[in-house]
Homo-oligomer: 338 residues x 4
C-alpha cells in the first residue's frame, strides 16, 4: 500500500518553461496579474519536434506561497482566469461532459495532490444517473482517482481508458504532482497544458501518454512540481554559487554591504554570473562543465550510493492541503457555465 | 467529497443467515473453531428463488471483538481457512489472476472498510507489467478502489467493468461494508459468498449487481456489517424486552437474582420470550405485531422526522482499522499458492 | 492508542435546555436570527441547586445542517455573535490572555471535535515568546489538546492545571463533544456556557470539573452533541410513536392524507400526543411509564446484552470536519479585538 | 495549525557520532547484531565540555530500511536490547513510573514521529487512576503529546514541566524527529541517550533543555533523523565527488569497470579521497575549503535565496508509519517488568 511510482520522476523536464529557456527561438507570451506571472507558450508541431514535447498550449503560473490567505486568493483568481482561457483555446463546449482524474498516490503526501484535489471537486453526473435534472449552471462532471501502478498493479492509463469507454466523457482534466528541475519552482508553480501528460513512465514511446491523440478526447493537464531530486539541488546550488561570487565581486568595495551578514545579502535579483576563467578558478574542472554535464556528473556521484533521493520540503503536508484546495476551487469555478 | 451512498443501506437484509433463520427448510452447516462459529449455507437455485437471493455458497463467521489481539489471530485463522475453502468451492485455479475491489467511501469511516482493506493487500501484477518474473509463490493480483457514485458520479459497476475489460482478471474479490439488520452483529460478523454483491442500489433489478452472471468471471464478496439504522435498534430492543420480561418472570422467585442489579442480570442465553397474551399486556397493540410489521411501523414513525439515521458505534475508527487489517492479511494469505 | 473515554457519556444530561424543558419555573430567553434559534438561560444559584447544574449563563444554538455552505455561514454569524456576548457577560477584558483547550480523542471521529477545532484556531502567544510584538488586533492566545485519560493515563484536568500554572492564561475556552439526550439534537446544536464542563468522569463530586471555581479563572465551554446511546434512540422513538398515532387519529378522516405514503406524512409540527388510556392501549404497561421509567427499563434491557452502544451518524467524518471548522472560525473572529 | 518549529533544525549536530568522528580522543564501543551496528559512547564531563555536549551515554543504532518486514524485526530486537540496557545504565528501577513524551508536530509528517509513536505505546496509569490494580507485569506508564510551540503558542518544556508537577513520574522517555547532518543517516539511524534533548530552540543556553538537570528526573531521549537541509546535501555531495574521482583514478586501468555504466560503479566502500592538489584541480578554491568552511559557504549561497530548505524523502509517510511502529513496540517491550 506504500509503493511509490518512482518512474514518474525519471522525467527531469516536466516544466515546459525550462525547455524554452534554453531555446530562444520559441516565443513565450508573459503577462502579470497582482505580481503573479503567467507564461503562455504555444508550440507548433515544428517547434514541438525540436524540443521533443507535444504540440499545443502550455501555461505556467508562478507564485510565491499559497499558505498565505491573501496570496491564495490572488493565485486563485489567476488560476480560474487561465483555466477558462485554456478551455476556450481547447474548444471545450458548454455541452461537453468532463471527467476529472487525480493521478498519484493518496498515501504519499507529495504525490497526493491529484487525489486530494479530486476530493474537493464538485461532481454532478450522479444527479443525472439517478434520473434527476441538472441545474443549468452546471455541466456533467464525474471524477476518478485511479491510484498508481505501484499500489494497484494496473497501468493508470488502462483504468482511465476503461472508464472513458464506459462513461463517454467529452473531455478530460488530469491533475498530477510533478518533479521540479529547479529548487525555486517547487510548490510555487502551476502548469496547465492541453497536450496531456505521461504519468511516470518516462519512456520515450507514447504507450502511456494520457493525451488527445491517445484517448481521442481533449485532455487538459494541470501539474504542480512538489518534489526535487538531490542532483537538482546540487547543480542549482553550483549555479547560485557563481551568481553569489559575481555579486560579491561586483560589490567588493561596497562598504555598506560589509555590515550585512552574508546570509542576509540578497542577490536574488543579481542575474550576472562569473566568466569562464573565474568559474575555473572557483570550481576547477567542474567550473567549466555546462549544466547538463554537471547534472550528469552529480547523478553519477549520487546514484551508486543510493543518495539521489527525491525529496520534498518538510512542510509538505500543509502545502499540499492548500494546493489541492486551490486547484479544486479553481477547477470548480472554471467549469461553471454562464 | 463527502456524499455517502445511502442507497446501499436500503437493503435491510445483507446477511443471508437472517433469511435462513426465518426459513427452516433451508439447511445450514454450522462448525466452530476456538469458539468462533462458522455457518455455511449452500443455496440451490430453487431455494434461492424462495428467499429472493442469488444461488451459491454463503459463509458467515461470527466473532466477538477483533480489537483484542488474541482474538484477532483466532478470527484470522478461521478467515483464511474459510476463504481458501471458498476459492476451492468456486473452482478458482492457481493460474487465475485476481482483481481485488474495495467498495465504499474512503472518507466515511464506517464505509471505508473496502478501500482500507485494499490498501493492505499484496498486489503483484505491476511486477509483470514492468516485464519481470513473478515469484511462483504468488498469483497475478491487482486492486482497485472505485469510490462511490456520490463522490465520483460514476456507477461503481461501470468502473469495475471498464477495468475488467482492460486488464482481464480471471476472478474478482470484492470487499464492502454492509448494513446490519441486528444490533448484535455489527462489526462482529464476516460474510463470504461467491454470489457477488449489489453495491447500494437496492433496486430489485440486477442492473448494478457485481456477480458472475453480470461480469462473466467468478466473484467472491466479503462483507462486514458496520452500520445499523434506528429502526433496527428499536425493533431489536422490543424483542429483547420480551425476552427480558420472560427471564424476569421465570426468575420471579429466584432470591439470589434479587441481589443482582437489573443491569447486571445477564439473560443473554435466555432464549424464551413471552406468550401472545403477555406481549399484548406488556406492549398493547404493538405487542401483537410481527417483526416485519413492527419494523414497518417504526420506519413510518422515524422516517418523516428524518430520524431513521444510519448509525455506527462511537469507536468505529479503531474497529475499522482492525477489521481492514484482518481482511487484508486474510486475503493475502489465502491467495498465496502452495 | 484507541481507548475512548466512555465515562464522559455516563452523563445523559449534557444539554441544559433539556433540564429547563422539564422545569417551567426557570425562564429562558429565546431569539431567532435567519431561522436559527438561540436559547439563553441564566441560572441563579438557587435555580442551579434545583436542577443540579452550575449557576451561570447557558446559550444553546439550534441549526439544521452545517454541511450546506449557505447554512454554514448563517450559523457562523450567530455563533460569533453569541460568543462575543458570552465574553462580555463573563467580563473578559481585551487585555486577557486565552488558553483554548480541545478535549476529546483525536483518533475517534465523533470525539475529535475538540482537537480538530484547536487545529484551526489562530494562536499568537508564540510571537511574544520569541520576543516579537503582537499586532494590536490580537490578544495573547495559546492552545492545548490534552488527549483523553484512556490514551494518556492522565486525568485531563491535571494536564490543564499544570499548563495553567506554567503559562498563566487569564481565561479558558474549552471545546468538547457531548452526548445528546435526543435524536434530533445530534450534530445540530451548539451549547456555550460560562459554567465550565466536566469531561467524562460523570462522578457526582466535582473532582474533575473544569470551571472557574476549580481553576480560579473564567471558563467558557463550547459543546456539540455528536453521539447518542441506544436507550435514547428507543425512548425517543416511543414518544414519536405516540405523536404519530395522535396525528394519524386526528387525520383519520383526512382523505388527502390517504394518498400520502406513511413515510411521507410529516407530523414534525404535530405536538399533541395520546391520552393515558390511548397510550396503554397502544403500548400496554410500557405505555403508562414516564420518560425516566422508560429510559431505565430500556437501559436494563440493553445493558446486560452489551447493546446500549454509544452511536454516531454514519456521515460523522464530514460533519465533524465542518463543525470543527465552524467552531475554529467562530472562536477566531470572536477573540479578535476592535 | 501548520506552523513547524524550524528552530529545531538550527542544530546541525543532533547525532553524537558525528562529533566523535571528528574527535579521536573519545572512544566509542562498536557492536554488531545481524549486521545492525550499534555504537555506544560514554561521555565523561570532561569530554562533554570539549565537544559541547551533555555528559552521559549515547547509543546509535544504524540500519538500512525498516520498510522491509524481515529487517524491521531485526532492528526491533536490537532496539529492545539497547533500550533495556539504557534503562539499566540509567538506574531506572522496576518501581519507577514513566511518562512517555512525543515531541513534534502531528500534522507535519517528518515531524510526527514523536506523536505517532506515543499513539502506539501501552499506557497503564489510567488503570490505577480509576482505582483498579495493575498487572504486576507492567509499571505505571502515562503519555503526552505536547505539540509544538508553533501550533500551541507554549514552550514545549513548560507543558512537560506542568504535567510532571501534577503527575510526578519517576522518569521520562522523550521521542523526537531530528535533523540529519548526513544524507546517508536519514531515516536509518536511531539515537538513544540519557542526556535528554533540547527541542528545536537551538539557543546556546539551556533554557529549554529537557534533561535530568533541568527536570530532576532521569530523561531518556530517542531520536531519529528524518529531515536534512539543502546545505548538507550539497556539502555531502562534494565529498562524495572527491571519493568518486579518487575511485575512478584508482581504477583508471581497470578494463572491466569500463564496461560498467558510471551510475552502476559502486564506490560505496571506497574510503580514500583526493589529495589537496587534486581537490584544487577538480574544484578550484572550493576544493581547498574544509567541511565547516564549505557548509558555511553553501549556507551563505542558499539562505539569502530562501532555498536552504529542510527536505525529507518523498516516501516519508510510509517510513514514518513504520518507524513510529518500531519505536512504540520497542518501548512497550523494554518497559515490561520480569
Amino acid at each position: 500500500m506504500h509503493e511509490i511510482d518512482l518512474n514518474k520522476y525519471r522525467l527531469r523536464t516536466d516544466l515546459i518553461s525550462e525547455h524554452i529557456d534554453s531555446n530562444n527561438n520559441i516565443k513565450k507570451e508573459v503577462k502579470s496579474y497582482n505580481n503573479i506571472k503567467v507564461e503562455t507558450v504555444t508550440l507548433s508541431s515544428d517547434d514541438a519536434k525540436i524540443i521533443e514535447k507535444e504540440a499545443g498550449v502550455y501555461k505556467t503560473i508562478y507564485f510565491d506561497d499559497v499558505t498565505d490567505e491573501g496570496n491564495f486568493n490572488k493565485v486563485l483568481d489567476v488560476l480560474i482566469r487561465e483555466l477558462k482561457e485554456m478551455l476556450k483555446l481547447t474548444e471545450v463546449k458548454n455541452s461537453y461532459s468532463c471527467l476529472i482524474v487525480g493521478l498519484g498516490n493518496r498515501k504519499a503526501t507529495p504525490d497526493a495532490l491529484g487525489p486530494l484535489t479530486v476530493e474537493g471537486v464538485k461532481i454532478t453526473r450522479q444527479i443525472i444517473e439517478v434520473g434527476l435534472a441538472l441545474d443549468e449552471k452546471y455541466r456533467v462532471i464525474s471524477s476518478l482517482s485511479p491510484g498508481v501502478m505501484g499500489t494497484t498493479g494496473i497501468e493508470t492509463k488502462e483504468i482511465i481508458e476503461g472508464v472513458i469507454e464506459k462513461t463517454k466523457p467529452d473531455f478530460l482534466i488530469v491533475i498530477d504532482a510533478l518533479a521540479a528541475s529547479s529548487l525555486e519552482r517547487i510548490n510555487k508553480t502551476i502548469q496547465i497544458t492541453n497536450t496531456g501528460i505521461t504519468p511516470g513512465s518516462g519512456l520515450l514511446n507514447n504507450r502511456f501518454a494520457i493525451n488527445e491523440s491517445s484517448l481521442n478526447i481533449p485532455v487538459i493537464a494541470i501539474g504542480v512540481p512538489t518534489v526535487v531530486d538531490a542532483t537538482t539541488i546540487v547543480s542549482n546550488t553550483i549555479n547560485y554559487m557563481f551568481r553569489h561570487f559575481s555579486y560579491e565581486k561586483e560589490n567588493a568595495n561596497n562598504k555598506a554591504l560589509k555590515l550585512v551578514l552574508p546570509e542576509n545579502r540578497n542577490y536574488k535579483n543579481h542575474d550576472k554570473t562569473l566568466s569562464k576563467e573565474e568559474k575555473k578558478e572557483v570550481m576547477g574542472l567542474i567550473g567549466n562543465l555546462n549544466d547538463e554535464e554537471i547534472k550528469t556528473l552529480i547523478s553519477e556521484v549520487l546514484t551508486p550510493l543510493g543518495y539521489n533521493l527525491l525529496v520534498t520540503p518538510k512542510e509538505i503536508d500543509y502545502v499540499i492541503e492548500q494546493l489541492s484546495k486551490l486547484l479544486a476551487v479553481g477547477i470548480n469555478k472554471s467549469l461553471e457555465l454562464n
